[in-house]
Structures are given as C-alpha cells and as structure tokens.
C-alpha cells in the first residue's frame, strides 16, 4: 500500500466523522431552536418583538414581561392548580396501576387475558370520542367546573397498568411466596416487596403521568367551563394570547410559555434516565 492510499484510508473515516458531527449538531440546533427563541423573546422589549427583520438576541434583556404575566393572569393560582391536578392524578394512577398490574402479572383468574385486552384497548381510544358523555356524567355527579372534575376521571389508565404489569412480571415469585409464608397480606407484599423491586418503573410512570397531566388541555378546557379560579397554567397561557390581541404582547406570551414549560422540562432533565428506560422497556417487552 502506498503512502498516499494509506493516508486516504485514514482520511475517509475522519471525513465521515466530520459529516456525522455536523449532522448531529444541525439536528440538535434545529431541535433546540424554538425553545431558545421562546426564552430569548421573553427577554425582549416590546419594540424589539415587533422589529422587521426580527431581532435574535435582545440588546437590553429585561424581565419586565415576567412581571406583566402575573398582572394579566392569576399566575400563582394557575401554577398551584396545575401542581394539584398533576400530582393528585399521578398519585392515583400509581396506586391503581400498581394494584392492577400486580393482579395481571401474578394472579391467574378466569377472564384474565380478556379483561387485560379490554383495558389495553382503551389506550387507543382518542379522548374526543368520550368527551361529551363524560362531561355530562361528571356534571351529574356535581364535579363540573372544579379541580376534582379534572382529576377524578383520570385516576386510572391503561398505559400505567400495562407498564406495571410488564415490570412486575419480572419480580421473582419466590420473593412473593416467602413473604406470604410469613403471613404478609397481599397489599403489604405489594407495598413492601414488589414496589421497591420496580422502583425505576414507578418513577418513570410518575414522571410520564405528571408531565402528561401538567400539559393536558382538552379535558380541563371542557370540564371547567370558564371557571377561571380552577384554570391550570396551560389554559391561562392560552388566555394570554387573547389579551391585547394584535397589540404588543409577544414577550408577554413568551414569558408565560417559558413559565409553563419549565416545570416539566426541569423534571425531565433530572430524571430523563427513567423516561428513556421505561419507553425502551415498554416497547421491547410489548
């Protein structure tokens, strides 16, 4: 092999590496750009948001818009409502999913696979299909226009049961049998033996549920019927747009959006390992 071809052979992989690195960088920039634009715009002065061509980096970054958000919507109340909706719903989903997941994974009873299939099928049902009858039902039990009306119908879901069954099935039967020999009740076994063994899956489900219900819009919008006291942040955010429509409000809207995005995003950054593991787990095992 001549020196020239040898250097070519070395060069080709490094050219390939440069190409790969460029592609990765481009994808990352494209992916991060909208949120970066959102945060930058929230720091602009009203005049800067109207400028043509658009200003990318604010010349005199100001937090003024964040102060104004709290004046237009009830920011503290909305954030609190979102927190209550997301955490209570998540707690309920964890309990119901673990119990049902345990039953499907570790008991045999007549009709087990039929019942499981029926529950799993609801995972594929678009929420719009049940929206109006559900709204009427929730109204008939007096929960309309309240946080309880948002929360109660969502306390159990098929995805949680599916995920928990997948992971609990991997808990060794001997562990459970040994506890039964010691006279532990089934609920105690679930709490003391099974739950710690599937802790990462529980963490993943908790995060999924929290983010999903923090972000959820269609059902709260329908059930609240304009009761602004119970608005979660995403609905208050949509109200920001109609405030001063057409006038200078871009930095205001972007500041509101940044505030709404931060809680799920921060959770994700710290706990993404669980998200990823559970998606991988549910896809492979499913």
């Amino acid at each position: 092999m001549s020196a020239a071809t040898r250097s070519l052979a070395r060069k080709r992989p490094s050219g390939r590496k440069a190409l790969l690195a460029t592609a990765m960088l481009l994808v990352a920039v494209a992916s991060a750009f909208p949120l970066a634009w959102m945060m930058l715009s929230s720091l602009k002065t009203p005049a800067e948001t109207m400028q043509v061509p658009p200003v990318w980096i604010p010349h005199t970054p100001t937090l003024e818009a964040y102060g104004k958000v709290a004046g237009v919507i009830n920011l503290g109340r909305s954030m609190w409502n979102s927190l209550v909706i997301a955490s209570v719903t998540t707690a309920g989903i964890l309990v119901t999913s673990m119990m049902a997941g345990y039953a499907f994974a570790k008991y045999s009873f007549p009709g087990r696979s039929l019942l499981f299939s029926l529950l799993i099928a609801t995972m594929f049902l678009p929420p719009i299909v049940t929206l109006i009858p559900l709204y009427r039902m929730v109204g008939s039990i007096g929960l309309n226009a309240s946080l309880a009306g948002i929360i109660v119908p969502n306390l159990a879901n098929a995805f949680g049961i599916f995920l928990m069954r997948q992971f609990i099935a991997g808990v060794p039967d001997e562990l459970i049998d040994a506890a039964r020999m010691d006279g532990a009740s089934e609920l105690l076994i679930l709490y003391k033996i099974v739950a710690p063994s599937v802790a990462p899956a529980i963490a993943a489900l908790a995060l999924f549920a929290f983010v999903y219900h923090w972000n959820s819009y269609l059902w709260p919008l329908t059930v609240l019927q304009g009761n602004a006291d119970a608005y979660p942040i995403v609905i208050s955010l949509s109200r920001l747009l109609s405030y001063n429509r057409g006038a200078v409000n871009t930095s205001l809207v972007m500041a509101g959006a940044t505030l709404a995005v931060l809680p799920p995003l921060v959770l994700f950054v710290f706990l993404q390992r669980f998200f990823v593991d559970s998606i991988v787990g549910s896809a492979i095992k499913g």
């Binding site: 992989p13 390939r16 590496k17 790969l20 690195a21 990765m24 990352a28 992916s31 949120l35 634009w37 959102m38 400028q51 043509v52 061509p53 658009p54 309990v95 119990m99 345990y102 039953a103 008991y107 009873f109 029926l118 529950l119 609801t122 594929f124 049902l125 678009p126 929420p127 719009i128 049940t130 929206l131 109006i132 009858p133 559900l134 009427r136 039902m137 969502n154 306390l155 159990a156 098929a158 923090w214 972000n215 819009y217 269609l218 329908t222 995403v234 949509s238 747009l241 809207v253 972007m254 509101g256 959006a257 995005v261 799920p264 993404q272 990823v276 991988v280 896809a283 492979i284 499913g286």
Partner: protein
C-alpha cells in the same frame, strides 16, 4: 389458597377496573348509543330519540354538515399521513445518529431531541405561531438567507395544515427517536460484522439488516404516531380556529365544536364513531401489512 387469591385479585383490580369502566368504557358506549339518536347536548340523555342511521347519512350527505365532516376527515387523514411519513424516517435517522459510537455526543443529542416532547402543546403552538409570523418571524428571515421567498405558513389554506404538521413533528420526533434507539439496540452487532466480512457496504447493511429488523419497532411507532396525530387540537383551537377556509379543520376540533357550540349530540357521536372505526381499520391494515411482510 387459589380461592383466597381470587378474592385478592378482585380487590387489586377493583379500583382500576371501576374507574376505567365508568370513565372510559361507559362514555364510549354512550357515544355509540347516541350516534343512533337525535340528541341535543344541552338536554339529559333521556331526551334522546332513536333515528337509526340518520346521523350517519347526514354526516356523509350533501348538506353543509356532510361537507364539513368530510373535509375534517380528509384534513385529519392528510395530517396523520404526513406526520407518520415524516416522523418515522426522521426517527430512524436520528436514532442512528444517537446510536452510533464513532462520534461522541449521542446521549446529549437524545436529551435535546426528547426534551421537546415534555413541552405542553399549548406552548408549542404559541411559540411556533411567532416563528411562522410572516414579517417578524425568524423562519422567513432564514429562508431569505438561502434565497427562498417569504412563505405564508399558517395564513394560507395551501400551507396551514402542513405548517401544523411541522410543529407536531418537531414536538414528537424525539419520543419516536427513543423508540427507534430501543429497536436498534436489539439488533445483534454480530450481524453487521458478518455482513462487513461478506463485503456489504453501509447502505446494503442498512437495507438488508437494519430496516427489516426494525420493522416491529416501526409498526409500534406508526400505531402510536397515528393515535397521537388524530388527537391534534391545541394549535388549531388556539391559532387557526380551523381556518383559513377550513384547511385546518381537523376531526378533534370539529367534533368538539359540533358537540359543544352547536349542541348536536347525535351528529358529533356519529362522527366520533366514524373516527373510531377509521382508526380500527387503519391499525388492523397496518398489522396485516407487516405480518404479511414477515411471512414472506
């Protein structure tokens, strides 16, 4: 012992089965029942009166009800098809970029891609409506730099729906990339080593090893992407209100409007039933297609 377990199974299942039965299955059955009734959503269920297939005839009929529904069905079909057609290939390409071990930074890329999936759709819609802004938005400015004229984006019936597809793809593709990575890690490395020894180049390896072994993953991704796509609501409700000239009037938005603003409970139920039936047909067809490929 077995009897005792049966009782425990009952206790363990009761909360989830009751909640899902009451709050998912019951309203679904009510929707099916209401699709054969004439019913105003402002009256009790007991006011409903049986009309047979009347609602279905009307939503497929020549009146404005039928025209609007068929447009919404078509819009959702186009929206779903475009979303899946963009998300699946991109998820595989991005998955390969994250999965490869030649250049560092794969995990960081995965984090950036996946983070968009955490963003509330309302915020996505708000931010993208500004990015798309014809004069003050950065997209047209960037296009200008490479010599492409300004696009109307959300304000033209020709481009509004695809503009919403694009923001949906941006938000969701990270999730599907993680699914693709899960599929890629399942492919044994020995297959690629053997193929390299046999002289197969990168493109041949992708075509004859990677793609066929990703088929199950891609089927799973396609089903999830379809289910997600038919639920598109926020950008339409917030930004376009179904316009311009009905071009973004998608099913979830249209069905809600018919049910709530026009209070036409029977018609909206018939539309919802058609959405369910279309989904079942579509997903079954996908499974049949992949299974036939498998048996080839």
């Amino acid at each position: 012992m077995a009897k005792a377990f049966r009782a425990s199974a009952g206790i363990m299942l009761a909360p989830a089965v009751t909640l899902i039965g009451v709050f998912v299955l019951l309203p679904m059955l009510l929707t099916v029942w209401l699709s054969f009734q004439d019913w105003s959503t402002q009256t009790p269920f007991s006011e409903a009166s049986f009309v047979g297939l009347g609602n279905f005839r009307e939503i497929f009929g020549p009146t404005s009800v039928g025209r609007d529904f068929k447009t919404a069905l078509l819009n959702t079909t186009i929206y779903t098809a475009l979303s899946v057609a963009l998300i699946l290939p991109l998820s595989v390409v991005f998955g390969l970029l994250v999965h490869q071990r030649e250049v560092a930074g794969g995990t960081a890329l995965r984090t950036v891609l996946f983070s968009t999936y955490m963003v509330p759709m309302i915020a996505v819609a708000l931010v993208w409506s500004k990015l798309y802004s014809p004069s003050e938005g950065p997209f047209n400015q960037l296009l200008g730099l490479v010599g492409i004229g300004p696009q109307p984006w959300l304000s033209s019936p020709r481009s509004a729906l695809i503009s919403i597809v694009l923001l949906n793809v941006w938000q969701q593709v990270g999730y599907f990339t993680v699914l693709a990575i899960a599929g890629l890690t399942q492919i044994p490395g020995s297959l690629y080593e053997a193929a390299t020894l046999d002289g197969a180049n990168g493109r041949e390896q992708f075509r004859f090893i990677t793609l066929p072994l990703l088929r199950r993953t891609l089927l799973f991704s396609a089903v999830i992407a379809i289910i997600n796509a038919v639920q598109v609501f926020e950008p339409v409700a917030l930004i376009t209100q179904g316009g311009p000239v009905g071009s973004t009037n998608v099913l979830t938005y249209h069905i809600r409007r018919v049910g709530i603003e026009r209070a036409q409970g029977g018609l909206r139920s018939a539309m919802a039933v058609m959405l369910m039936v279309s989904l079942i047909v579509c997903v079954s067809a996908l499974f049949a297609f992949v299974n036939r490929k498998d048996s080839e």
